[in-house]
């Protein structure tokens, strides 16, 4: 099985006043294509920073990120944006829908950015919204939707570009248990159906347990890396 994501000796430091804080410290791991992987750890452990670096949202202080065979390190921000557009999907804790766009338009954005034909894109967006159970809310604005509905729109948007890899940051963190479960099921179902690799950051150990692999982060370092059936301790 090939690796969709390779993280090699990744370090990220931030300036805090006159001091430098090392948030991610020399982390390396690889994620195989098609699996689901949870990154867990306490608040401030560096898991969201690792997600951001892995998805090309940020530049590491040192180390390399290779996503779908593309080394992100030498790319500038616009080049990384193109990589994200072609290969990556996102689901965020705070949904991050564009408030001025309808549900359908929000879902369409990644493909529209590629300059693809509107009719087909719209058809695909509606189909995805139907799959997440929002076929009758396509023309609603985010503020007209509940939190769970907004996250479902975000999930539909995440899958519209048939991403190779989906990054989810606490996807159920802002939802009640029932809605949260519904969203979890959706993500995992679509993940399986579309053959996408899933990388999610969460506090929720139950959610993490549903994944094929769990990487536990503590103080910016990998504390443990457990795959179903085998455990690797860093």
């Amino acid at each position: 099985m090939s690796h969709i994501l390779k993280i090699d000796q990744l370090t990220r430091r931030f300036k805090s006043g006159s001091k430098m804080l090392t948030v991610v410290d020399n982390v390396s791991f690889e994620i195989e294509e098609g699996i689901s992987c949870a990154i867990v750890g306490p608040s401030g452990s560096g898991k969201t920073t690792i997600l951001g670096l892995s998805a090309g949202l940020d530049q590491p202080t040192s180390g390399n990120v290779t996503l779908n065979g593309i080394d992100l390190t030498p790319l500038n921000e616009d080049e990384r944006a193109e990589v994200r557009n072609l290969h990556v999907g996102f689901v965020f804790q705070t949904f991050q829908l564009v408030p001025t766009l309808t549900a359908e338009e929000n879902v369409m954005v990644p493909l529209e950015l590629r300059g693809e034909a509107t009719k087909e894109v719209r058809k695909r967006a509606v189909q995805l919204l139907e799959e997440v159970g929002l076929g009758d809310r396509t023309h609603h604005y985010p503020t007209q939707l509940s939190g769970g509905e907004q996250q479902r729109v975000a999930v539909a948007r995440a899958f519209i570009n048939n991403p190779k890899i989906l990054f989810a940051d606490e996807p159920t963190g802002n939802l009640d248990t029932e809605t949260g479960e519904h969203i979890e099921n959706l993500i995992f179902d679509l993940n399986r159906k579309e053959g996408t690799t899933l990388v999610l950051v969460t506090h929720d150990l139950e959610l993490a347990d549903k994944c094929d692999r769990i990487i536990k982060i503590k103080n910016g370092e990998i504390e443990s890396d457990i795959s179903k059936g085998k455990e690797v301790v860093a």
Binding site: T48, A81, N85, P99, L113, E116
Partner: protein, 845 residues
């Protein structure tokens, strides 16, 4: 769909729910462009009118004037031109209206011939303009007829002759209505003019010839011939081209000046644009971050908002251009009195195009500040809620480049308007200095409020004061925009008040309020007797002797005039001097250098004279220089014994040259007398009695003149203030915009405070305190700058010591605070009596 189309589509979609928020942004541009288009359209229409009516500006092809009968050489040349010719004698004299028993110093034109050849003397009835010369009757300015309740058929006495009023004079070609401000115009026939008894020694007469060229005359050749002749002879002339140029230039200066004031409104609008786009983009950070996250490039993200800014700028500019085109319909009402042509109005497409282009450019340039920051918004913001300061995302190089771009645009526009790069640079640096000063003051206010916020004061007061320096405060924006507008308008008010203050003599008991001129030698005792019979005090009774310069230090005036590199100024060499003689200085004079010699025993020796410092400069003379005067044919040699500083602002006879007693007594002379009358009735009665006994004596009613000057200054300043008002309106709009964009933040604070138990009254109090502080700061800053600007104007330009009028300043402070408070409170309307949750839900959308 290609990527460019997506950007446009996205810009459209993104703007859907935000258009209302951008209304104030639009309004700032609308007002600025409206001011621009109104003024430039008006100027273009005015220029067109001047071009179309160019010959009517003169009423003839050529006008020649001389303060004595024409020289034979000049007369011969004018005769050789052929064509049609009218002759006139112009002078000022008292006019007496028997029906109303009133008198008025008037501008008399005694006309012979068919002038005007272009345009018409507009009269009521129409026929009067043609008939008054044949019927030996008069045309009298319409306003004076209305004022005195007179009508055609009544009479006017000029000198010794009583004329029937043939008609009301409404318009003379080439003369603006303002021409009659300082004395009504009266036209009488030239024939028999001697019989008025007004053509006496000392009378200031202007001999004028109006000529209509015969076909085939080359105006350029005439101009060249007269110019050559003018080198040796003292006369003046004007042809159509020259008059058109003079009028055009005057109007260009005025409209350029107004245009720059209007441009300030547009620049303030630009600041409003930058400020509203900053706040707008701040609300869009998460949207941009999401778009960046899903693959939008930095340029794509920026372009979405760039398109919105340009489109809004275009819409605002177009609406502004339309409103400006409507406002220009009102401008003629303001300035018609000052322009010598009938203004024909029409749409000026050039002005509209330039207005829209300027508006869009200003929107774009100012919007670039926040828009370039969009490029720096990281997709990482989707993962973390980051409170970023957009302006800090821009590098210093970018900021300096943008400021440079704005500076260059302002210089370019000002250069275009003023046609003078130095003046354009002065305008730009002056404006930049003002804005920097305002920004520094805003910074100091914020720092001061932070440091001095008194802990012993109540919570509401401290919170209100703290709002001045908290993040996203409105202090800088308000001080920059509103402060600049206030500075502009208030400077105009204070300067107007300063100018009017210098002529506010009416209450001065010891100052004369009636001046009598042209009293002949044999009339002096009679006039003095009438004054005494009226129980009035004669303040001054000064003899006046007319003379001309013959030579300075043995160089004749003719030699000076022939020398193009001469230092003495032409007017000083050419003018007819009206000098006096006395043995003492008067209260309006003090010696600057040399020694004042009041009397001499031997008039055949060099006569020691005293010359005013102003004239010394214009003659380029020194104490001790010798001057030979031509006193009505008799040469008198003198030397400059002293120089005097003269206060010309007092309403009494002052002189460039004062002779000692013992020299000029035998010379032909006339007198000027000043009187202080206790009230207007006494003044009118005295004028009436003197004019009836001595019709050639002119009375200058100081009260009348002052009210005319006041009216004149009021009219001029109103025009400027009208345009300046646009800056205030823009300032208010920008303030409203700034307040509106921070509405959500304020509402959140208000709701939070109410959730924590604050009463509605307390929340309102905090807001009132904040806006009152803002109002006070903006008003005091703007007014302080305007006091400074007025003082500088007074010192450098008008030579007046400026004392601010604290009544005006106090009223301005109250008005400005009220305005700021009103806008601030309007912004928070409706949030106090609704449940906190409902408001939060609404605003989130």
């Amino acid at each position: 769909m290609n990527k460019l189309a997506w950007i446009f589509k996205m810009a459209w979609r993104d703007s859907r729910s935000n258009r209302k928020k951008l209304f104030l942004y639009l309004a700032a541009i609308i007002v600025g462009v409206a001011a621009q288009v109104a003024i430039s359209s008006f100027r273009e229409n005015l220029n067109d009118s001047i071009n179309e009516q160019s010959k009517e500006l003169l009423g003839a092809d050529l006008e020649v004037e001389q303060s004595s009968p024409f020289y034979d050489e000049l007369e011969a040349y004018l005769d050789s031109l052929g064509g049609d010719r009218s002759d006139a004698l112009s002078f000022t004299s008292m006019a007496y209206f028997p029906k109303s028993g009133t008198t008025r110093l008037s501008q008399i034109t005694a006309l012979e011939g068919n002038f005007p050849y272009y345009g018409t003397l507009k009269t009521n009835p129409l026929s009067a303009s043609k008939s008054f010369q044949n019927t030996n009757s008069a045309l009298v300015d319409e306003p004076i007829l209305l004022q005195f309740g007179l009508e055609p058929g009544d009479s006017v006495k000029i000198g010794l002759i009583t004329y029937e009023i043939a008609g009301a004079l409404q318009d003379v070609p080439g003369q603006p209505v303002a021409a009659s401000f300082f004395g009504p115009r009266i036209y009488i026939p030239k024939q028999n003019i001697e019989a008025t008894g007004l053509l006496q020694r000392g009378s200031r007469l202007e001999y004028v010839a109006y000529i209509k060229y015969p076909e085939g005359t080359d105006p350029v050749l005439v101009d060249e011939t007269l110019d050559a002749m003018n080198d040796s002879l003292r006369f003046g002339y004007d042809d159509v081209a020259e008059r058109k140029e003079e009028v055009g230039e005057a109007i260009l200066y005025l409209s350029n000046f107004l245009n720059l004031i209007g441009f300030i409104a547009l620049l303030l609008g630009g600041i409003g644009v930058a400020s509203s786009i900053f706040v707008y983009i701040r609300q869009k950070i998460s949207t941009v971050a999401v778009l960046r996250c899903v693959g939008a490039s930095s340029n794509q993200a920026m372009s979405i908002y760039l398109i919105q800014a340009v489109v809004m700028g275009f819409i605002g500019s177009t609406i502004g251009a339309l409103i400006g085109s409507l406002i220009q319909l009102y401008l003629p009402v303001l300035v018609q009195d000052f322009v010598p042509v009938d203004i024909e109005l029409g749409l000026s497409w050039t002005s509209i195009f330039i207005g829209i282009l300027t508006g869009v450019s200003i929107s774009l340039i100012f919007a670039l500040f926040p828009l370039l920051a969009v490029r720096k918004i990281s997709p990482l913001f989707t993962l973390r809620s980051v409170d970023i300061n957009l302006s800090k995302l821009l590098s210093w190089v970018t900021r300096i480049t943008l400021f440079g771009l704005i500076g260059l645009s302002v210089v370019g526009y000002a250069w275009l308007m003023l046609q003078d790069i130095i003046a354009a640079l002065f305008f730009t640096f002056g404006l930049a200095f003002c804005l920097i000063l305002l920004a520094v003051i805003a910074f100091l206010i914020m720092a001061g409020a932070k440091k001095l916020n008194p802990k012993s004061f109540g919570y509401e007061f401290r919170q209100g004061l703290a709002n001045l320096y908290r993040p996203n405060n409105q202090t800088s924006t308000l001080l920059l925009t509103f402060g600049l507008g206030v500075t502009l308008i208030s400077s105009l008010y204070l300067t107007q008040d300063m100018l009017l203050g210098t002529i506010n003599f009416e209450s001065g008991e010891e100052l004369p309020n009636l001046a009598l001129y042209d009293i002949q030698y044999d009339q002096n005792d009679g006039v003095n007797q009438i004054i005494q019979n009226n129980g009035l005090e004669l303040l001054q009774n000064v003899p006046i002797v007319t003379m001309r310069l013959q030579s300075i230090n043995d160089t004749t005036v003719a030699d000076f005039l022939a020398d193009t590199s001469r230092n003495p100024r032409r007017w000083a060499l050419n003018r007819e001097y009206r000098s006096t003689y006395r043995d003492t200085l008067v209260s309006t004079e003090k010696i600057d250098s040399g020694e004042f010699i009041g009397s001499i025993d031997d008039p055949d020796k060099l006569v020691p004279i005293s010359v005013s410092t102003d004239l010394m400069g214009d003659l380029n003379a020194q104490v001790g220089d010798t001057i030979v005067w031509d006193v009505q044919g008799i040469p008198i040699s003198s030397y400059i014994a002293s120089t005097r500083i003269v206060d010309w602002q007092t309403p009494q006879p002052n002189f460039f040259v004062v002779f000692p007693t013992g020299v000029l007594e035998p010379a032909p002379q006339f007198f000027a007398t000043t009187v202080n009358t206790p009230d207007r009735e006494a003044s009118l009665k005295l004028q009436q009695e003197i004019v009836q006994s001595f019709p050639n004596v002119s009375a200058i009613d100081v009260g009348q003149i002052l009210s005319t000057i006041r009216e004149f200054i009021d009219k001029i300043t109103f025009v400027i203030q009208f345009i300046g008002l646009f800056s205030i309106i823009t300032g208010l709009i920008v303030l409203a915009g700034s307040a509106a964009t921070s509405r959500f933040q304020r509402i959140r604070e208000a709701v939070l405070l109410r959730t924590l138990g604050a009463k509605q009254r307390q929340v309102v109090k905090i807001q009132v305190i904040e806006y009152v502080f803002l109002g006070i700061m903006a008003a005091l800053t703007g007014l302080s700058l305007s006091v400074g600007a007025s003082a500088l104007l007074g010192y450098f330009y008008f030579d007046i010591d400026f004392i601010p009028n604290f009544t005006i300043l106090g009223i301005e402070v109250l008005i400005l605070i009220s305005l700021v408070l009103l806008i601030g409170l309007l912004n928070t309307r409706g949030i106090h009596n609704r449940p906190p949750l409902e408001i939060l839900r609404d605003q989130a959308s």
